[in-house]
Symmetry: C2
Subunit: 588 residues, 2 copies
């Protein structure tokens, strides 16, 4: 039951749900015309299916042990990575001046969905490299760009992000890693970083670490953090590799999942100081890192979609083969496929619908990012605000969906679902990290409520709500949508009511924080449902080949999953007092 | 952060939520008086905390490899098991005639909660032994009882259940294992059984397998299945062990969790036939097995409670220690404990409240089982029907809670939650199986909807609903309950509406099956909420020391978790058509 890239669903999400077709008709994204979009999706699908997916179980079994001081990658990993980079996939979104193709985020996100469905442990490596490209391109000096960017864009070298320390996870203000000025324009870096994904390996000849550290005279807190480039091997002026830098991998974590990716403890400066170069300005490192992290959040969201897609396909294939008992209406010989049992059908339909909703959100987020870069002035600002609002939904909702769908997939498998050989448990184990890293999902919800809802005095969210109301209304007179219009309208009312609750003057911050996570889910259900509904309405009107399937999915989503918004609204507006009073039974 | 038996919560659930205090005042359960109840809970808590909990990580790391043909148990496992059995714990619920203490199911369930919180992989072994005791005591011949029961009751030998075959999981009609009459009153058993928990090991000198198989002239389907005792070693007339029987462990599964328990593929009869003895009548094996399975379902439900409790304690302890950022209102030095952040508090409170609700359901189920055995005539029948209704709730809701709470626990741990060393992932990995075995949770929901709702023409469910309405009303005028009375009343209305929907004449069976799982959760939220509320009202009125904590927990449950019932009702009564039409987007 191998993964197959779901090209039709991806193209629906791009063109219809995220609005690429409308945007192209309006003259945008001309570079994707003449079949390029479909060709790229098709080729990426082939590579993901044929080359990456076969690594999925291999990586999980092998882990990445340190043998003779070297991090050992699973069999086939290095060859596949090099073939992938040589085919140009790493360069898809990179800047043209450094060899990239500068194609839209939309396309990058769609291809990364497929790489991650093939193997999340594989795809997380390039995800970090591309984050490093973004940070260096935006904040690095010309000299740094000249030294590193072309190799990172091509994938000849990989990049890492070094933020976390034992005492500094969600709260980067607590960072202790030190940087000292060497007097020659370079710096010496000292300290320990943990949870560094792809922190060490020999898949590439060099690794470019981006490291947050404090200068001796830095202010306390987050305004005293600087960002440095610290290469594993120093780079000579001619671009060749020089001496080993003073950075070592001191250990590999034993994790629940994504075992094909080395999660390293990195030690800087134990031999006198790792040589680093400043990115951007001193003490302004967090701003540089946030550029990178914002896009990384969408990249993690797509991991949730990707694992959900792979797990759904895996469960669907098993349910079509596995026979037990006789489903209602079954007239065939003997036992029926379990896919026909209504309770299994419920699990499969829920999996497929949640995956589609999360995909619609992630792709719509990518659209907003692309449009903000392709617009000017207030239009660009409007799209940037939208990207800001949708990013926490994309990250948190999608990764929750990844966990929930992987969990449902195990249930569809029954007893075999608990056996590693079936492959079902790995999806849950892999998916679990995505709700944690790049800012836990709770942090995403807090970001949404405290920083994103107030954007443009609430006008940014109001514009989205208006768009979603229009999408709901568009389904009202079309066949096959059932109660979609009414149910979406009711869910949007729930959303509007909670938005008003958060905006009420004098709202207690603690109460707002207590409701943040339920609110994020509420808004995501509306966003996913509305974008899918608008897309399906358009597909239906335009007579797309898969319109019937998309309409049936939207109807299922509306009539089975949207009613949850009322409970979420209720938890937001009424649940905080008893939550904040929970010490009475938690500290007992 | 080791597990500590939650004696106060367990006693609250027993005495107040499940009504043991009221029953004792009415004269029942006299054997638990004079402090015996508290003494047993206290001693069991000590053993679980001091002896079993230290095995948790050991078992997970060691697995149970076959070395030189022998299943190797993790270090300390055998010694601890023997000490546990020698202390009399295995005999707690066993029949007095065979050395048991014949104490109530209520007490057995409470102690098994603690054994499972210590290590589910450890406790699942005795769980199966006790199931074997029940089946043999109820259906075995006097000769079989004389040979096996005393040793199984004491725990000197362990028992197993052999149902599943590769093609026969949820559908036992597909069983192929064969039994042949040997002519001397014994049988020869042939066939392969999979997923046999504690199928082989050397923790005890003998293992007593209960095996389902078909006689040559048996009718097809489930009415042609017989149950046999097949001991690992034959038992001589004097009780000493004789020859090895023809049954071998052909392999150990590599699983997601409960790795300390050997999950075996058992092969019967490859050397000419395993010698077996019939339990009950020929072709009536399934009825015997169902006796055992019904109680096993409650025993699995308590595994969900147990892992949820352990994971909640684990997360609470970490959240009290781990410091990041400053929570609203924090006036201490530096960073605050994350437990004070409202979003973390929400996760902890949700974990604790769901665990308490699942516990209340499981203990109330045990109460119904005990009362059905201690009553006569229609009263006994009434309690038996109640046990029948509550058993699927106890099994499915509690095991879903086990997964959800373990998942929340990982999230509370943040990045450390993904690292195996933290212990957080193991709870999710262990808990995952409980939603699958002993009848998947989907099967439980189908059992509830198709067989339990119609009991006594609906009067059995109606009586429960009336009891829950009274519990809701009892909180109305007491301080501290907030909106509990109104919210419970609304949830009970949702329950009553869905019960009426299922009972409507001409209800399409496929639509009913599509709504079974949401309905089970709806009914469980009401049951757990109402039993907790009634218990807290009683605790409050009686002035219990922990009444304040229990009332605060009920209020949190009512104001944060109960609103979900409206969405579940909606999914039941309106979601089926689009679910049954899902082929349009699933088979695409």
């Amino acid at each position: 039951m191998p993964y197959r890239a779901p090209e039709a669903d991806i193209l629906f999400a791009l063109k219809r749900a995220a609005g690429l077709d409308r945007a192209m008709k309006a003259g945008a994204f001309a570079e994707l015309g003449d079949g390029l979009l479909e060709a790229v999706i098709g080729e990426a699908g082939k590579f993901a299916t044929d080359r990456i997916a076969p690594l999925l179980r291999v990586g999980d079994r092998a882990h990445t042990p340190i043998v003779d001081g070297r991090v050992t990658m699973p069999a086939g990993w290095t060859e596949t990575y090099r073939a992938w980079a040589e085919a140009g996939w790493n360069a898809l979104s990179g800047p043209e001046a450094f060899g990239g193709q500068d194609l839209p985020t939309l396309l990058s996100v769609a291809t990364f969905e497929m790489w991650n469905s093939g193997s999340m442990a594989f795809a997380i490596g390039p995800t970090l490299t591309i984050g490093a490209v973004e940070a260096l391109f935006k904040h690095g000096s010309d000299a740094l760009k000249a030294t590193y960017l072309a190799k990172l864009v091509s994938g000849e070298w990989m990049g890492t992000m070094n933020l976390t320390e034992p005492q500094a996870g969600s709260d980067l203000a607590a960072l202790k890693a030190r940087a000292e000025r060497a007097g020659d324009g370079t710096y010496r870096i000292f300290g320990q970083k943990i949870f560094i994904t792809y922190g060490d390996h020999e898949m590439t000849d060099n690794i470019v670490h981006l490291v947050l550290a404090r200068l001796p005279d830095a202010p306390a807190g987050t305004r005293g953090i600087s960002l440095f480039v610290v290469p594993k091997y120093l780079v000579n002026p001619d671009g060749s590799l020089g001496a080993r830098n003073d950075v070592v991998c001191a250990g590999i974590e034993s994790k629940l999942g994504i075992n094909g990716s080395p999660t390293c403890t990195m030690v800087y400066g134990d031999g006198g100081g790792a040589i680093g170069w400043l990115v951007g300005e001193e003490n302004k490192g967090l701003a540089c890192m946030f550029t990178m992290m914002n896009n990384a959040r969408l990249a993690v969201g797509i991991q949730g979609v990707a694992v959900a897609e792979a797990a759904t396909q895996h469960a669907l294939a098993y349910a079509a083969e596995r026979r037990q008992a006789r489903a209602p209406g079954w007239t065939g010989e003997g036992m029926s496929p379990i896919a026909l049992h209504p309770d299994v059908r419920r699990m499969l339909a829920t999996s497929k619908a949640l995956t589609a909703a999360a995909r619609a959100i992630c792709y719509s987020c990518a659209m907003a990012i692309d449009m903000s870069r392709r617009s000017e002035g207030s239009e660009a600002e409007r799209w940037a605000q939208r990207a800001g609002i949708v990013t926490p939904l994309a990250k948190a909702f999608s990764t929750d969906v990844g966990i929930d769908v992987a969990n449902l997939g195990i249930q569809v498998f029954g007893g075999m679902g608990f056996i590693e050989e079936s492959g079902a448990p790995q999806f849950l184990r892999d998916a679990r990290i995505a709700a944690i890293y790049e800012g836990t999902n709770g942090i995403q919800a807090i970001d949404l409520v405290t920083r994103k809802l107030p954007l443009a005095q609430g006008a940014a969210v109001a514009a989205l709500i208006a768009e979603w109301r229009a999408a709901a209304a568009a389904t009202a007179d079309l066949p096959g949508f059932g109660e979609t219009a009414q149910r979406l309208a009711a869910a949007i009312d729930d959303l509007a009511a909670t938005v008003a609750w958060f905006a009420a003057p004098g709202r207690d911050p603690a109460e707002a924080l207590a409701g943040a996570t339920p609110f994020l889910r509420l808004m995501s259900l509306v966003a996913g449902g509305a974008w899918l509904a608008g897309g399906a309405a358009e597909a239906s009107t335009e007579g797309d080949a898969d319109a019937g399937a998309q309409v049936a999915l939207v109807r299922f989503f509306a009539e089975n999953l949207l009613a949850e918004t009322a409970a979420l609204r209720d938890r937001v507006v009424a649940g905080a007092p008893s939550t904040l009073a929970a010490a009475a039974f938690l500290d007992a």
